[in-house]
């Protein structure tokens, strides 16, 4: 039976998962140890192998029970797994509706806990309908399942479907479902831990509106019983009901949490003879993991496992939904679960699930589908040194290269740390996190024209297809203006459009010149992206040349338009500029289907190249100007409002920070770091409500004070401190914080170092200043400085310095780069030059207190 199953799998085309999982499913399910298993998965394989009897039993029981129920409208039958993420808080939304209310009108952000119905439409088992070859859907008992859906799976032999469909959540306090005040319906709030419902009014103290974030009921806060397992929930209710002893069964969700049902994700569906099988990947409950259920696990949390099993579709009970934590409010109903980690039972490690993984896979699958078009390229995961050619040496050993890296305990987390889950962050913390420098997926503000230009260029290149000729775009701008981020954003959008079918297929290759060992390795990258094969730089260059000189209908010409992004292009310049020449010349060949976008910092890079390269590269330019003050302000404000903490920063503070950075560089990273540091200072202040306030409380700052002592003395409370007090309590970031941040981050430190130098070094600096002034040159020989030091010390009754000590002092000053000193081996013949401005040195020396006579010296 196993062989047949295996054969059937290989024959199926509906498989969308990587091929390696197939071979492992049986082995894994056999040898996996279960710590707290309430179910025996090992028996599932046998269950899958006896579909007929099982299915008959299940079907029969289902049919029997279902015959007692009324038909209802189908509600949650088909829900695709992924929905677009919406921003907002994590309030769980439940549809507040009676049975007759129309479905789509879900009232936003309410937590009414009326159970939504899973209806069962009673029909005898229909013939399974295969709708499309890509995603076959199997309607079973009235629900249609597609690959990628999640569903409850019956694994118990003695399954009895209680058929609880209608479950009305009642408020635990007043034991009523509805409660009206006037004409408005009071919302039912669902506790995140025990999933009991409470009316907003029935709480003590009563809440005015649905709170953001997590909410726990008073019983859970007081350390109530465990999460919504059936044993905890039901008896209490039954007990309290007293006379109203309605036999209450358990919903699917409760059964799952109690361990009677399992939850799985459908990975593949296929027919085999008369039966239909599906392969499902199990989810496990927190109790089944090594660390057990922790406090920070919510009630609806499940973990995706690596274990898969093949079962008959008869074992599917009802559909369910598993989504990411941020999308919880989009899915109404009771059979909704949250999953953001993967659990590997073999090594007992957790790994966070990542959206970006899909992105990586998609790149490879570009090549996969290309193979179907009869292309000559062999799209292969480049990590396998396969067929011909020497084996590449990858880092990390075999297990890294093959992708089975999840199995090492060293890389996965033994348990999800509670600090990751800490959801109650202060606004300042949230602001700090929002301002972090990260290139996350987001829309860059203030770059609309540039984005439109780049998008137009790429669209023209892609749409031209065969006629794509000579398309080179040059993007220039100082660092921190968002060039790479904008280009990536454009490519993301266009790729989404390509997936929908708006654009013809194209390929995107990214090359960063600073990640290459040498400029010639750019050929290697390009070659690997086009063919999936690895070659040395010279070979890759030859092959690419052959590929692109074949003409429009050559055998080796690529069939798709390739858009190449060359980042940090100025580092690809070699002596003969061959690499750049090739990169700019290949797009001009017939049939090359290549478009190049180059990014660099200098506007006139094409002019500095050879004319033949410059003419090709310099055709189209997009210039990213440094950000202006308003743009920087807008960037910060958008980041803060996206995270929902727009009021944390005072408006003046943002304006001040933006103005300061715009005047210097117009670098977006700098202003984000500045605001982040200001938020940190504000947070620190907030946590220390004592008199030892650092001088961040002072608002307007003059120029940096000269001989500032390293430890700032506490300022006496004044008017500024009083205002600072208020801000400190409320946790708002004001201009004073921004000012302190600027001083800490951007102030030159040489004044501190100058005042901290030792006595001999200070005398040496004084003598150096005098010597340079006397000779009129910018540098001096140490011998001359030494004689001057002797004179100085003799005149001031200071001990004459020993020349060896003076040489060491000069070398030390050179190490600090306060002066530029020659090598110490030259001893008294070494040349010295001041590296800081003379005025600064003079100021520091005159303000010095340790050498009494220094202030009277004529420097």
């Amino acid at each position: 039976m196993d062989n047949q199953q295996a054969n059937a799998e290989e024959a199926s085309t509906s498989d969308s998962t990587p091929s390696k999982k197939r071979r492992e499913k049986v082995a894994l399910s056999a040898r996996r140890p279960r710590a707290k298993a309430t179910l025996n998965f090992g028996s599932d394989a046998e269950k899958g192998s006896e579909p007929a009897s099982q299915g008959a039993q299940a079907g029969a029981s289902v049919n029997d029970v279902a015959a007692e129920m009324n038909a209802r409208t189908d509600e949650a039958a088909e829900q695709p797994l992924q929905q677009t993420a919406t921003k907002g808080t994590r309030v769980r939304q439940r549809a507040q509706g009676k049975r007759t209310s129309p479905k789509p009108q879900l009232q936003p952000r309410t937590r009414a806990a009326t159970q939504q119905l899973e209806s069962q439409q009673l029909r005898p088992r229909p013939a399974p309908a295969i709708t499309a070859p890509a995603t076959p859907a199997k309607p079973v008992d009235g629900h249609t399942y597609r690959v990628g859906d999640c569903a409850f799976v019956i694994t118990d032999e003695n399954w009895e479907d209680d058929g609880i469909d209608e479950e009305e959540q009642v408020c635990e306090v007043c034991l009523k479902t509805d409660k009206k005040r006037g004409r408005r319906l009071i919302d039912l709030l669902e506790c995140d831990r025990c999933l009991c419902g409470y009316h907003l009014d029935c709480l003590d103290p009563p809440l005015a509106s649905v709170p953001d974030g997590d909410w726990r009921c008073p019983r859970c806060k007081a350390g109530g019983a465990a999460v919504a397992t059936a044993e905890a929930g039901v008896p209490q209710r039954v007990g309290r009901r007293g006379a109203q002893q309605r036999p209450r069964g358990q919903t699917d969700r409760q059964k799952f949490l109690a361990g009677k049902l399992e939850l799985g994700r459908i990975e593949a569906l296929w027919r085999q003879g008369k039966e239909t099988f599906f392969r499902c990947r199990w989810y496990c409950r927190p109790e089944d993991t090594m660390e057990g259920r922790q406090d920070h696990h919510t009630a609806r949390e499940v973990f995706l496992q690596e274990v898969t099993d093949v079962n008959d579709v008869q074992t599917l009970l009802r559909p369910a939904t598993v989504c990411a934590p941020s999308q919880l409010q989009d899915h109404p109903g009771d059979s909704v679960f949250v999953c953001d980690h993967m659990y590997h039972a073999g090594c007992a490690v957790f790994k966070a699930l990542d959206d970006s993984d899909d992105g990586d896979v998609a790149d490879i699958s570009d090549d996969d589908s290309e193979a179907d078009e009869g292309d000559t390229f062999k799209p292969v995961r480049a990590s396998r040194g396969h067929g011909g050619g020497r084996r590449r040496c990858l880092q990390g050993g075999e297990e890294w290269a093959s992708g089975r890296r999840k199995e090492t305990l060293g890389l996965g987390a033994a348990g999800i740390p509670a600090s990751i889950r800490a959801r109650d962050r202060t606004p300042l913390e949230t602001a700090r996190a929002a301002l972090a420098l990260r290139s996350g997926p987001g829309v860059m503000p203030c770059r609309e024209t540039e984005r439109a230009d780049i998008a137009r260029f790429v669209e023209e290149a892609v749409a031209a297809g065969e006629d794509c000729l000579g398309q080179c775009l040059y993007v220039a701008g100082v660092p921190g203006t968002g060039k790479t981020a904008t280009v990536q954003e454009v490519m993301r959008q266009l790729r989404a459009r390509m997936d929908e079918g708006d654009l013809p297929a194209f390929r995107f290759v990214e090359i960063n010149a600073l990640r290459l060992p040498s400029p010639q390795h750019a050929y290697v990258q390009l070659y690997r992206a086009l063919t999936g094969k690895h070659a040395s730089p010279a070979t890759a260059a030859e092959q690419l040349e052959a590929m692109y000189s074949g003409g429009a209908h050559g055998s080796s010409a690529p069939k798709r338009v390739t858009v190449v992004l060359v980042d940090e292009m100025d580092l690809l310049i070699t002596k003969k500029q061959q690499v750049l020449y090739n990169l700019c010349e290949w797009p001009t060949r017939a049939g090359a289907r290549l478009a190049v976008i180059g990014i660099a910092n200098t506007l006139d890079l094409p002019e500095r190249l050879m004319p033949r390269v410059a003419s090709r590269l310099g055709g189209r330019r997009v210039v990213f100007q440094p950000y202006k003050r308003d743009q920087l302000k807008k960037i910060i404000e958008q980041r803060l409002s996206d995270a929902g903490v727009a009021s944390v920063f005072h408006e003046n503070a943002i304006k001040y920070a933006a103005g300061k950075v715009a005047a210097v560089s117009g670098d977006a990273r700098r202003v984000l770091e500045l605001c982040r540091k200001a938020a940190e200072i504000a947070e620190e202040e907030q946590q220390q409500p004592s008199a030892d306030v650092p001088c961040a409380a002072s608002t307007a700052a003059g120029p940096a004070d000269g001989a500032a002592a390293p430890s700032t003395p506490p300022k006496s409370p004044g008017a500024a401190a009083a205002a600072g007090d208020e801000h400190r309590r409320t946790g708002v970031v004001v201009m004073g914080h921004v000012d302190a941040a600027i001083r800490e981050m951007f102030r030159a430190v040489h004044m501190q170092l100058l005042s901290n130098a030792c006595r001999l070094e200070k005398i040496l600096l004084a003598a150096l200043v005098m010597e340079t002034r006397a000779t009129g040159r910018s540098d001096a020989v140490l011998r001359g400085v030494f004689t001057r030091m002797d004179q100085l010390c003799a005149a001031r009754q200071e001990a004459l310095p020993y020349c060896g000590d003076v040489i060491s002092a000069a070398v030390r000053l050179g190490a600090k780069r306060l002066v530029l000193a020659g090598p110490g081996a030259h001893r008294l013949s070494m040349r010295l030059a001041l590296n800081v401005s003379t005025d600064d040195v003079v100021t520091a020396l005159k303000a010095d207190t340790s050498i009494e006579w220094m202030s009277q010296t004529n420097l």
Partner: protein, 443 residues
């Protein structure tokens, strides 16, 4: 015996595990720890930090102590470390290839992945990025400690810095880069791309202030006392710690020795000259401990005095004082010529100068080949120096190649003082330009 071992271990430990931190270092460490623990706990809170301070002030100590604290706090499960550390040094790992391979090796060692030495630079770069992504999924973080940070920021491509800081910018990576440097302008020498990606957070570790010499927490004598102190507590003492009575006796004698006025004056002089950095103090303490190990009993004052005296850095003087008479004559001849204005001299000139003393009726008259030997010996001792580096290879014309003296007159004068039997002619010859011939017959 055990005291010796304990103190030596403390003073020689490269990670400074046993050293007490002075208050400024404690503050710096607290700040750094706060930054790094935010990075470890919250996803996406990457940070890059710079510690600037002169040589020997304790930057590496702060970094190592913070890393040890992070380790103690977060790595509770020995099989699955939450925080990994990668240590790089700009002097050792200056080449890009070497640095990236070292990063890969340390990452593999920290997180139990097998390391392959033959991976190329591109592979290691890809591996770095992949590894950071995987670590994020497992809620783990890495701290990169880069010593001699300014050597990574060399003028040409700063690949290591760029790649590290660029990797930090990717979404939700949990990593931190801590750089230690002595140059105060290290941020200006970073390339503009690297500088833009660097979050300009920094801390300065200042040297010991001369004004705070007697300060109980951070003054020089108290630091020395802290370095030489033995643990005194009765309970909780490890079995290899010396017994309490001995420890008490040791500590009290150290304290008494540090009250001595002359010793304090010497220390003050050292600090004024800039030789009183904490690293130098550690050297002094180590020398004192070594000397004290020669006789039983607690540390006495002479050991400390001798250690302080040895820290005076008079190596040129000592080297000169140990030369033979002919070498000294040749050296003094070179100095006279320099004084007269010859920037460079050669052997012929030196011989001519030395030959002028032949008429002064003294005993140290040697032949030219002997003088040539002496000249070679001075070259070997680096007291004379070829100005043109290629002259060393041209053996034929060495008599005429320019040399320059690397010692100064005061040093030689002191060396002559220090030397036992020094002919007075030599001293006079050094001191004066014109030497009268007749006066030596009587001395």
């Amino acid at each position: 015996m055990q005291a010796q071992r304990l103190l030596r271990q403390r003073l020689l430990d490269p990670q400074g595990a046993g050293m007490a931190l002075r208050p400024e270092l404690k503050a710096a460490r607290a700040k750094l720890f706060k930054q790094l623990s935010t990075t470890v706990e919250r996803p996406g809170a990457n940070t890059s930090y710079l510690i600037i301070g002169a040589r020997g002030t304790g930057k590496s100590l702060v970094a190592e102590r913070t890393v040890a604290e992070l380790d103690a706090k977060y790595n509770t499960n020995p099989d699955s470390p939450v925080v990994g550390v990668v240590r790089l040094n700009g002097l050792v790992h200056s080449a890009d290839r070497v640095a990236l391979r070292e990063i890969a090796r340390q990452l593999c060692a920290a997180f139990r992945v097998s390391f392959s030495r033959a991976a190329s630079l591109g592979n290691n770069l890809d591996f770095l990025r992949d590894m950071l992504k995987e670590l994020r999924k497992g809620h783990k973080s890495v701290v990169f400690v880069l010593d001699e940070f300014d050597l990574f920021a060399k003028p040409v491509k700063q690949t290591v810095l760029y790649n590290l800081l660029d990797a930090l910018q990717a979404s939700n990576i949990q990593a931190a880069v801590v750089g230690l440097s002595a140059r105060f302008d290290v941020m200006e020498i970073m390339e503009k791309r690297v500088k833009s990606r660097f979050s300009h957070r920094r801390d300065i570790v200042l040297e010991l202030d001369a004004a705070g010499f007697d300060h109980p927490g951070s003054g020089v004598p108290s630091l020395l006392a802290a370095m030489l102190a033995l643990p005194e507590e009765e309970q909780g003492a490890s079995p290899d710690a010396p017994c309490t009575t001995f420890a008490k006796a040791w500590n009290s004698s150290v304290r008494a020795a540090l009250q001595d006025a002359t010793l304090l004056a010497e220390l003050r002089l050292l600090c004024d000259k800039g030789l009183g950095t904490p690293a130098d103090l550690a050297q002094i303490a180590l020398a004192a401990v070594m000397r004290a190990g020669r006789e039983p009993g607690p540390l006495q004052l002479p050991c400390l005095t001798a250690a302080v005296a040895a820290a005076q850095h008079r190596s040129q003087v000592d080297a000169t004082a140990s030369l033979g008479i002919l070498e000294l004559f040749v050296l003094v001849a070179a100095l006279r010529l320099h004084r007269r204005g010859y920037e460079r001299v050669n052997f012929e000139l030196l011989w001519a100068e030395y030959a002028k003393t032949a008429g002064m009726h003294h005993a140290d008259v040697y032949s030219k080949p002997a003088a040539a030997r002496a000249f070679q010996r001075l070259l070997d001792a680096s007291l004379l120096f070829f100005t043109d580096a290629r002259s060393e290879r041209r053996s034929g014309l060495w008599e005429f190649s320019g040399v320059v003296a690397r010692v100064e007159e005061p040093e030689v004068a002191q060396a002559l003082q220090q030397r036992g039997q020094c002919p007075p002619l030599l001293k006079n010859w050094l001191a004066k330009d014109i030497v009268h011939v007749g006066s030596y017959a009587n001395e």
